[in-house]
Symmetry: D2
Subunit: 342 residues, 4 copies
C-alpha cells in the first residue's frame, strides 16, 4: 500500500480486450486503488495503455513488473496456460494476486498453486469468478442465506455465448480445455457457491456440434450439457453453448425446498421494450462483458477493499481447484460417454 | 325455455364476422343453450349459417324472428344504429336480449331503451361489454373486492387496435360516433366497474391523426387520450388507438391505496417466446377477438345461466347509458378543446 | 359413428378427477362427439355422471361398455396398470381408443399393445400426451417446421408439480414407476416430437429427495434431472419435481442453430400482475390441469376429428412405447448411477 | 480547468441525501473531474464530506465557494427556491453550473436566468433532468432518431414514488409547487425530448388525494394525471403519484406511427425473480435514486466531458423554462378544473 495515500497500487498484466476493461476499472472506478503499472508483450497494447490509463509504468516483461517494488498487487488477465506459474511468481514476489479464471486446466498444476499459496497466508489470492460479484447473483446468495427458499438443493446454470461466425473459439479449441473447462467452470463455481460449497461426487456430460464442425478434431463441442451430483444429495445441471442467436445468455436458477430464485433469466440489454410488427421484444446482452460489466467493477472494488481490510473475497484458490476438477471430469465424461465418479 | 330440454332457445341476429363467432359459441359451447334461429338480410351469411350451425331456422327479417315463439332470447350483433330499436322490439316481443355494445350513440335513445326496459323487469337485457367476462379482468375485480389493493381510485385503460392499412374504420367513421364512442366505451365501462360504478363529473379529451388523414373530415382522430373524473375523487385515464404496430393491445390497470393490478399488459398471443437475433420476443394478439375470445364465450355462458337462474349478469342498460354519456362528452371535449362537466 | 347424426359416440372409462374433466369436455365442448356412455366401478362417480353428463348409459364394468354396440370409441382415464389390456380389449371390440399416458410402465406390455394394434389399422389409437395439443406447444412446433430456429438440436423440458403436502404421490410411489416414468414421459414425448422423433441412444439420470423421505424405500426421488442423447447428435435435458412452491411449472425450450423457442416459461395463471410491497408478481397455475386445460380440450376435438376424418392425431402407440423405453432407462440410470445405453 | 491535470475542478453545493450521492460520483467516478470543494450550511454535512470525500475545501457559505478561484464549476443540489439566484451568481462568478431540477417554480425567475445565461455563452449551464442520461432512455432516443418507430406522436410518462408513510412531502407541500411541478417536470422534459422539443399548446390536469389528506390545504394532491397537447398534433399523458405500494415506478412510453418503445416498464431492482407460494415476482426499485443511479453518474460524466469538450449536454435552461411553464399550467388546470391554453 502506498505510504502516502494508503491506496493499493496495482499492476495489470495482459491488455487484451478483457484486460483493457479491467485496467480501466482499476484506473478510474475503484476507490482506494491506483493502477501504477501495466504489462503486455504487445507494443500496440502498451501504446493503448499510454493513452488510456493515468500514466502507468509500462512493462513488456512480467518479471520486471514483479520487480517493481511500488506494485502491491498484480491483476492477471493473461492466457490461461500462464496463470498458475504467474500466480506463484506473484506470491513469491510478495504481491497480492487477482487472476482471471481458470486457475489452470491441469489439476496437478492447480494443486501446486494451492500448496504454494498456503505459504503466503497474508497475501490475497482470488480467482475471477465474477458472477459472485454481480449484484443479482449476490442478492440471490443473500436471500438464500436468509432462508428465502428453504434448503437449496438444485442449481441450473448456463454460460451461453452468442454465435461467433468468425469461429474464434474454434482456433482457440486446442488450448481452451474444451467447452466445460472454458465456459462451465463459471456455472460450477456458481453452483457450489449457492449450494454451500459442497464437493462433487459424480458427473455426466454430453454434447453436440451444432455449427462448428472444426471442433470435432479437438474432441470438443459447441453445445454441452451436464449433470453434477454433490455430496448431501445436491445437484446441478449445466448448459454451455457457443451458438446462441440472441446474445450472451448466462443465467442461473437455484431451487430450494420452499421456493426458487432465477437470476438473469432474460438477458435484456437494458430496460427498453420494442413494440413492432414482430411483437414485443427486448434486445439482449451481446457478450459476457455487457452482461457482467457491473460484476467486473464490483469484483475489482471488493478485491481492493479485501486487501486493504485484510478480509477474504470471492472465489478462493480452493474453489478454483474444485471448479477445474469438476470441469475436467465433465470433459472426461463427454469423451467417454460414461459417468465419472470423483 | 324449452319445455322439453330446459334449454334457453336463442336467435342470433347479424352474422358478420363477430356475429359468426357469437353464433358458433351459442351453438356449440354454451351449456343450457340451443341456437334455434339466426337472422341476416345477407344471403351469403344465411348460407354460412346453414352450413356451420346446427339447423337453425333462418330469417332475413328481424320481425319474423321476433315472431318465432320458440325463440326465448335474441342475441344482437347488428349495426350500432339499430341496437336501440331492436332491443325495444325484443323486449316488447317478450324476449330476453343480449346486445353488442354500444347501446346507442344517442343519449336520448339510450334513455328511451332504459325506460322501456323498466317495464319488463323479468326480462334480462345485457350489453356486451365483454371485458367484464374475461377471466383476467374478473380475477382483478375479485381481488379488488377482497381488498387486495385497498381502495381503488384510479383506472388506466386502453383499447388499441392494430393498424388497418385498408382503413376500414375510416369509411366507418361517419357512423361510428368517433374513436371514444367506438373504442373507449369499453374502457369507460371497465373503469366504472372496477371503481364501484361511480358517476362521471368532468372529462377532457385530446387526439391526434397519426396516419389516417381521412378521419379529419369527420372530426375524428386515430389516437385519442382522455381523463375522466368521477364523483368521490376517483379518476380514469383512457387511450384509444387505431394505429398500433404490434397488435390489439387492450389492457387496463387499477391503482389503489395499497397496491395495483395490471390486466393484460403484454397482449401475448400465447406462451411462446422467440429468441433470435432481434432479441427475445413474444407475438401479440392481432385483433380484439383473439384477445377476448374466452371473454366472448364466458359472456355467452353467463348470459344463458343468468336467464335460466333469474340473476343479473354483466353490464346493465344503465351502465351502457352511462358509457354513452361519458363517451359523448369525450367527443364533445375533443371537438371543443374544453373540459366538459357532466 | 351414429348413422343419424354422424357424430362419434364415445364412452369414457374412469371418472376420477381427470376423468371427470375429460367427460365434461367430451359431453359439451367437442363438435361431432356424443358422450353416450360412462364406466366406473365407483358408485359415487357414476352418481356424478348421472348428474353432470347428458344422460350417458352407465356401466360399472368395462366389458359391458365394450359390448355396447352404440359406442364407437372409448376414452380411457383409468389406472396406468390397466391401460395396456384395456386398449387391446377395446381394439378387439372394434372400437377406437384414446388412452391417458402412460401406455404401460412395462416395455414388453407396450410391445404387445403395439403388435395387437397393428392388426387394426382402421382403428385410431392415441396416447394422451396432451402437450402436443397445447396451442403454445403447437405454435412452437409449427414455427420449427417453418424453419424459424434453423435445425433444432436441444430440448430442455420440465414437468414440475406444486408440492403436495398430503404426499399423495408418496402413497402412489409403489405403482407409479417413479418420477421419470410418471412425469418425465411428457418431456420425453415433447423432446422427440420437437426434434423430429429421433431414437434415444444413451441416458443418464440423477435425483434428490428434497422433502418426501418416504420415497426412498421405493427407490424414487422427488426431484430428478436427466440427460438424453438421441441419434443424429440431438440432446434433451429433463427436470421433474414434486416439490415446487409456486405451482405446476411444466415448460419446455427448444434450441436450434438459428434461434430458440421457450414455451410456457412463466406459468402465469392469467394476465393479471399484482403490484404490492413484495414487488410485481403473477400467480401461477396450481396444477397441470390449470396449465393444460385448453390442451385437453383440443386433444379431444382433434381425436374426434381424426376418427371422423380418417387421419392420425397426436402421439402414436409407437411414440408411447419409445417414451416408456426412455423413461425406464432413466429410472435404471437413477438406480445404478451409470449411463444407460439404449 | 486545472492547468496541471486538465481536470475540471468542481464544487458541490448542498450535501443532503441527493447531494451526497452527487458528491461521491464527482469525487470517485467521473474521469476528468476533481471534486475540490463542497458547501453546506449544515455542520454534520460538512463533517460527512470531510470523511467521505477526497479532501475537498469546505465552505458553509455559497459566496465563499464562488470566490474560490480553483473551482471551475459548481454543482447545485440545493433547495429549489435557491436555484435561480445561485445559477446567476455562479455564471457571474465565471463558473459553469449544473443545477438539479427544477430551474425555478416561478416563470419570471426562469426567464431572468435565461436572459442572464445568454450573456455567458461560453459557460455550460445544465439542469439535472437525469432521465436524459439513463442508458435505457438514451437507447430509446437513439432508436427514435434512427426511425425505429416512424414518427413519434404520443408520450406516456410517469413519476411515481413509493408511499412515504412519514409524509415528508406533505410538510414539503407548501414550497414544492405541487405534484406537477415537483414530479411531472421530469415527464414533461422526457416528452419534449422524445417528441422533438415541441411547444405545448394546451393542458388539462386532474388529481386525487388517495392517502395524504394534509395536502388539501395546499391545493395539492398525492396522485395527478394530465394531458398535454403540443404543436404539430403531438400529445403527452402524465401520471404522478406519491402513494405507490411497490416502489418508485418512473417509466415512459413513446408511440410512433410504426411502433412504440416502453422504457422501464417494470422497475425491477435487479435481475432476480423469486418463485414462491405467492407466484413469481421481482422486487422493485424503492426510490428514484435506485432507479436512476446510473443516470446520475452518466449525467456527471457527460457534464464534465461537455465542459472539457466545449459541447452541449442534457436539458438546456430553455428546456427547463418550458418544463416549468407546462408544469405551472398543469397546476393551474388542477385548481381551476379547466383546460389551460399556453
Amino acid at each position: 500500500m502506498s505510504a502516502d495515500t494508503g491506496r493499493l497500487r496495482l499492476g495489470v498484466v495482459g491488455l487484451g480486450r478483457l484486460g483493457k476493461r479491467h485496467a480501466e476499472n482499476l484506473a478510474y472506478r475503484v476507490p482506494g486503488a491506483s493502477l501504477v503499472a501495466a504489462c503486455s508483450p504487445v507494443e500496440e497494447e502498451r501504446a493503448w495503455a499510454r493513452e488510456a490509463l493515468p500514466e502507468p509504468r509500462l512493462y513488456s516483461d512480467y518479471a520486471e513488473l514483479l520487480a517493481d517494488r511500488d506494485v502491491d498487487a498484480v491483476w492477471l488477465v493473461t492466457p490461461s496456460s500462464l496463470h498458475a506459474q504467474q500466480i506463484i511468481d506473484a506470491l513469491q514476489a510478495g504481491k497480492h494476486v487477482f487472476c482471471e479464471k481458470p486457475l489452470s486446466l491441469d489439476l496437478a498444476e492447480c494443486e501446486r498453486v494451492l500448496a504454494e499459496a498456503a505459504r503466503y497466508p497474508h497475501l490475497q489470492a482470488t480467482i475471477g469468478f465474477m458472477r459472485r460479484f454481480d449484484p443479482s447473483y449476490r442478492d440471490a446468495f443473500d436471500k438464500i442465506e436468509a432462508g428465502a427458499i428453504g434448503r437449496p438443493f438444485l442449481v441450473r446454470s448456463q454460460t451461453t455465448d452468442q454465435n461467433d461466425t468468425d469461429g474464434f473459439f474454434v482456433r482457440f479449441a486446442a488450448t481452451s480445455g474444451g467447452i466445460f473447462l472454458d465456459c462451465t467452470v463459471h456455472d460450477i463455481d456458481v453452483a457450489r457457491w449457492l449450494l454451500g460449497s459442497p464437493r462433487a461426487t459424480r458427473v455426466f456430460a454430453a454434447g453436440a456440434v451444432a455449427l462448428h464442425e472444426g471442433l470435432r478434431e479437438f474432441g470438443d463441442v459447441d453445445n454441452g450439457v451436464a449433470i453434477c451430483e454433490f455430496e448431501g444429495g445436491k445437484l446441478a445441471v449445466f448448459y454451455a453453448s457457443r451458438t446462441q442467436a440472441h446474445g450472451n445468455d448466462s443465467h442461473s436458477e437455484v431451487i430450494g425446498t420452499a421456493g426458487a430464485l432465477a437470476i438473469g433469466r432474460n438477458p435484456s440489454v437494458n430496460r427498453v421494450e420494442i413494440y413492432d410488427r414482430s411483437g414485443i421484444r427486448n434486445e439482449c446482452t451481446p457478450t459476457f462483458f455487457d452482461r457482467f460489466e457491473e460484476a467486473f467493477l464490483v469484483e475489482a472494488r471488493e478485491f481492493v477493499a479485501a486487501v486493504r481490510g485484510g478480509s477474504g473475497c470471492g472465489a478462493t484458490l480452493a474453489d478454483a481447484v474444485e471448479a477445474t476438477r469438476i470441469g475436467g471430469a465433465l470433459r472426461e465424461s463427454l469423451l467417454s460417454g460414461q459417468a465419472v465418479v470423483l
